[in-house]
Subunit: 296 residues, 2 copies
């Protein structure tokens, strides 16, 4: 069960094709086929159904392990390598849209740039998984993820990284202004909304899966799925009545471009938390400075 066998297995499963995986991994199709065969014969289980290519039950089980294992191997390499390579005079920051909207990160970043005008800054806004990935791999010096959790609970992370909360917000349900709920400004409990129509927007808002786990129910059937990463679009979708969505309380004005929306406070004991995540930070690096500014 060599690491690179796992890597090609995961790639084949992700792309649903041996040939596509071969292209991505710079192998020939034959090599990919042989590697998967080797893994299967090692474990004595069929991992992939062919034509169409997809994981078997055993394959699914293996994927659940293999993906975090590979991520952690990258994290290990990054962690160890950092000890040799000199601290770069740049700051690479990965964050989710809501981390950008509800944490003071971008404000602090402006302050940092005022203090260090020549600092090379790279900001990347993506989904939660990619942020964690980038922070683990060391592609980003710092990551800012967000999530919906019970107060005082940490965000669950697939890899162990230093994590510290930098912002907490109340949770609100976004509904069109003419929606019946809009007339209960006192707030609603999540349990009351299990049967409503939801927009599932895993890259922006807390995913419905997350919501189910947090609320402990199995309700929240999605009526609509939005795979983009843009918050404004999500607000537009909510305004058009495609369904409800859950967002942290946004700073004044953020919702202005999409009028006709109401944000109803959620009374369930739940907070939206933004956490700063990172591997080992070299002392005196811009990343360490910025982390200190955020947690101060």
């Amino acid at each position: 069960m060599d690491a690179h066998l796992l890597r090609t297995f995961v790639t084949v499963a992700r792309l649903g094709s041996f040939s596509a995986a071969a292209v991505e991994l710079q192998y020939t199709q034959a090599a990919v086929s042989q590697q998967v065969a080797a893994l299967e014969s090692d474990l004595k289980v069929t991992l992939l159904r062919r034509r169409p290519v997809g994981p078997t039950e055993a394959g699914t089980r293996l994927l659940e392990h293999a993906i975090p294992i590979l991520l952690r191997m990258d994290a290990a390499r990054a962690d160890v390598t950092r000890m040799t390579s000199p601290p770069a005079a740049r700051l690479a920051l990965a964050l989710t849209p809501l981390a950008a909207a509800t944490s003071p990160a971008l404000t602090r970043l402006a302050e940092l740039r005022a203090r260090m005008p020549r600092l090379d800054v790279a900001v990347r806004v993506t989904g939660r998984d990619q942020v964690v990935e980038a922070a683990a791999r060391g592609e980003a010096d710092l990551g800012l993820t967000d999530g919906l959790v019970a107060p005082s609970d940490p965000l669950p992370l697939p890899v162990p990284l230093s994590a510290v909360g930098v912002a907490e917000s109340l949770v609100t349900v976004i509904v069109p202004a003419d929606h019946p709920l809009a007339r209960s400004p006192a707030g609603v409990g999540l349990a009351d909304l299990a049967d409503a129509r939801w927009i599932d927007a895993p890259r922006v808002a807390p995913s419905l899966d997350e919501l189910r786990r947090t609320a402990g129910t199995d309700g929240y059937r999605p009526g609509f799925r939005y795979d983009g990463a843009d918050t404004l679009t999500l607000l537009r979708l909510a305004a058009e009545g495609h369904g409800l969505t859950l967002l942290p309380e946004l700073p004044g004005g953020a919702m202005a471009p999409s009028p006709g929306l109401a944000a109803i406070p959620v009374t369930t004991r739940l907070v939206h938390r933004v956490e700063l995540i990172h591997g080992t930070l070299p002392a005196d690096s811009p990343a360490a400075t910025f982390a200190a500014m955020l947690t101060a």
Copy 2:
């Protein structure tokens, strides 16, 4: 950064010797040396100091990743392999001493054996790490670990396994009967005990490290370390005045063999929890039956 390079690196670090690692891994010393060299040249860092052999700082960092990675690879193999191999008609149980003492597991086990007289049962009592390891690797069908946590928190596990609580106990401080503390039967807070002399007995009782993390202080300097796994011996040590130790409230009579001890309730909001951990259980296996009996 191949998996087996990590494995030999970890082994060398653990044994503090290239030659010893070679014996354990069935390689020649030369092969081990080459593998470590390969890993070091891949990562471009020295991982081990030689003579005496021990991890460098980078090596320590790598160990923190490599050990869980290897454990998880074993877990992955066990998880996948279980899907093929027929469910064994045996029950292998790994548990910690305190899990045995404070959970109804052994009672339930007797009931199970009454119902299935021909069932092959193997019970292994060891430290927490070994229990988790055995459950992850599939060497044990079921594991029972214990730990000290805030009420409602799950026990932290280095690998993701199904975990469900099966018993909770109050936490007590064990002191000699003539100790000043023995006169405060109303209970003491942990913070008041940060400066006392402690026995560190990581294989039996909650380790002092764990205690520090849970209490958030950095007190609890050990005066004495007990590396054994036997609870009675620990009680004897406490009776002899070697230091304080923390134990869950033990069922009546358990402390009788070591008279002269008092168990003072701890008033800090903390519980001792026993959790049942396991990988995927084949339906209708003895393990699944027993798990159901424990969680019912």
